[in-house]
């Protein structure tokens, strides 16, 4: 048998019907995650066509994008002051109730960012096809799943048929061998990959991240890497499941239990790409050459080593980006004054991210005039962080400690930059206005974000530990 990539194995195992000359492949979906922003219209169309949700047990909903993360009121509830957001939240509640879909409602213990709770609950499993109306669905590929973002029309397709029409993508191996230097994190790895590929460089491809540096990453770190695959235009990113994956999943509420667990692990062991399997394209990196990264422009591909100079603009698009950012080519970013630090998002809001940031904040104070938001990715992470006192560390340093949600990554929930403000952000997008109209974003790791919060300037965290 021809050696196959992990992508090919998962793809072929989910073909309801292969592609023909006239029609795309029909791909079966194992897990459909939904949230309040990209699902309401899909449910409207289902009602208009008098359709049912075909597999409600394969559908799980949460609220994250438009929900506030401000602290709870005295009644223990999270207040939704924005009328439009309240309507969207109510719509999801009604849709889930009417169609029999499991919902992790605002403030409940299972609620959080959709790409954080899937893995946390053990819903995200190797070999699965996972979709969600959100481009960062690529996160779930960290478990050796084929996971990608879809639009609202496709959300309706999956709700009604548990299937999708898909053209087969190409495969791209991103191989990173060697050992990362201390202070170089998974976020720096993916920012370096996106900087090399460029924001459109992975278009039409599914990335498989391979090599000793990838195998050495924890599950949370792998999620950070796969999360930003879409920032290179790739719809999905994936990492072969191994003992790290199995150890993370074992005992999680929705993971297989008992004999079913052993059977599942045996099947998962056959998923990694076969020796000799060929990819359409390969990019190689030396882990030892990677440094902490930061973006300087208005897309995630515009990244540099933290100590490096901003590239001189080579075309009108780069000039426009630097003009928006108020920056000059060939100058360094280190020491640039900032106004806000955001630690959170589906990229970097997990317990290990919060611990890394807390390690910098401990015994220090946020620089005067700098606003710092620390937003856990889920209610479970919030609880775990509080149990080990991380919330005290953040508060004592002068940071805000919030409820779970997307918060300032998407600026549609009350948390946003003011025009002109500079933020160091652990999120995934630095597009114009992404964090608030006129706001200017530097993407970086939790270590860089925390260190910059302390000094009020872009800072190399390696100088602080």
């Amino acid at each position: 048998m021809k050696p196959r990539t992990m992508f090919e194995k998962i793809w072929e195992a989910h073909l309801v019907r292969p592609a023909s000359a006239d029609t795309p492949a029909i791909l079966y979906v194992d897990l459909h995650l939904i949230h309040e922003v990209t699902s309401p219209q899909a449910f409207t169309w289902l009602r208009e066509k008098n359709l049912e949700v075909r597999r409600p047990e394969r559908t799980v909903a949460t609220m994250d994008h438009s929900t506030p993360t401000t602290p709870r009121g005295r009644d223990g509830k999270i207040q939704v002051l924005d009328n439009a957001a309240a309507l969207q939240i109510a719509a999801l509640e009604k849709n889930c109730a009417d169609f029999g879909i499991e919902l992790h409602a605002l403030g409940t213990e299972g609620q959080g960012i959709v790409h954080v709770i899937g893995p946390e609950l053990g819903l995200t499993q190797p070999g699965a096809v996972i979709v969600c109306g959100d481009s960062h669905t690529s996160t779930h590929g960290a478990f050796g799943a084929l996971a990608f973002g879809i639009g609202t029309s496709e959300v309706s397709h999956v709700l009604a048929t548990q299937s999708l029409l898909q053209q087969p993508p190409k495969t791209l191996a991103v191989t990173i061998e060697g050992t990362l230097h201390p202070g170089v994190t998974a976020k720096d790895v993916i920012l370096a990959v996106v900087a090399r590929l460029g924001i459109g460089g992975g278009t039409g491809h599914v990335i498989e991240y391979r090599g000793s540096a990838i195998r050495a990453l924890s599950m949370e770190e792998r999620m950070t890497v796969c999360n930003m695959s879409i920032e290179a235009g790739a719809r999905a990113g994936m990492i072969a499941p191994d003992e790290t994956t199995f150890a993370y999943l074992k005992g999680r509420p929705r993971a297989p239990q008992g004999a079913a667990w052993d059977k599942a692990v045996a099947a998962w062991r056959s998923l990694p790409s076969d020796p000799g399997a060929t990819f359409d394209r390969e990019e190689k990196f030396d882990a030892a050459e990677l440094e902490p990264m930061i973006t300087y422009g208005t897309n995630p591909g515009m990244g540099i080593s933290i100590g490096g100079p901003i590239p001189a603009p080579s075309n009108a698009t780069a000039e426009k980006a630097l003009a928006y950012m108020g920056l000059t080519g060939e100058k360094k970013l280190l020491g640039h004054k900032i106004d806000v630090v955001f630690i959170g998002s589906c990229t970097n809001s997990r317990l290990s991210d919060l611990r890394a940031a807390a390690g910098i904040f401990k015994g220090r104070k946020v620089a005067e005039g700098v606003r710092v938001l620390v937003v856990p990715g889920s209610q479970a992470i919030k609880k775990a962080a509080e149990a080990e006192g991380l919330d005290r560390v953040f508060r004592d340093a002068g940071a805000d400690w919030r409820e779970a949600g997307c918060s300032m990554c998407i600026a549609m929930n009350g948390d946003q930059l003011k025009p002109g403000q500079y933020a160091v952000s652990t999120s995934n997008r630095n597009f114009e206005g992404r964090q608030g109209a006129g706001g200017r974003t530097f993407l970086a790791s939790p270590l860089t974000a925390a260190a910059s919060a302390i000094t009020g300037r872009i800072t190399d965290a390696r100088e602080m530990v």
Partner: protein, 192 residues
């Protein structure tokens, strides 16, 4: 979905690369629960100043852009989020085709489901389009061609099924629903 075949219009040229979906429609406008009327928020932060007044130098605010149905933009149009609000907003505003040298995957998929034709042309034709803003262009979905006013004609790729759906006004969901026996058989085979 309405049938789509011939689109003849003046072009609007937005010579910016990597136009992301946050520019096409900023996230704060995604709190809608309907897809109707999003055109008023299209390119909101490029079109309007902080007080909501139109910015005179933005192309969509210029008189020559009025009524145009073909948007010509820089490379990698529609990158970023999966929000279908982006093609909804473009279509609601009046655009029926987007022309670029490359178009992001999720945006392209979403556009095709909403009668917005994603047209990828080679850099030489693209350069001609950029050099002649407001020029008349005809796009034929049936022939998969784009024709400039000077007669230059180029073909563009489109997945045969998407082309069929556009030409016949077929909703992909109807097609998928008709595959019910195959889906049920697949589920049964996996449970075995």
């Amino acid at each position: 979905m309405d049938k789509v075949n011939l689109i003849t219009s003046r072009t609007v040229v937005l010579p910016v690369e990597n136009v992301d979906t946050d520019q096409i429609i900023p996230a704060r406008f995604l709190k809608a629960t309907s897809k109707i009327g999003l055109g008023k928020n299209l390119f909101a932060d490029w079109r309007f100043d902080a007080s909501g007044n139109p910015k005179a130098d933005f192309i969509l605010n210029r008189p020559e852009a009025s009524g145009a149905a073909i948007l010509v933009a820089g490379d990698n149009f529609g990158c970023g989020s999966s929000r279908e609000h982006a093609p909804w907003a473009l279509h609601d505003y009046g655009f029926r085709a987007v022309v670029s040298t490359s178009i992001a995957d999720i945006f392209r998929n979403n556009a095709l489901k909403n009668g917005l034709v994603p047209v990828v042309v080679d850099p030489s034709v693209h350069a001609k389009l950029l050099a002649a803003p407001g020029g008349s262009v005809t796009i034929s979905v049936e022939d998969q061609t784009l024709t400039l006013a000077d007669g230059t004609r180029t073909s563009f790729p489109i997945d045969p099924f998407a082309r069929f759906c556009l030409l016949n006004g077929v909703d992909e969901l109807e097609f998928l629903l008709a595959q019910e026996p195959a889906i049920a058989a697949f589920e049964k085979s996996r449970a075995a």
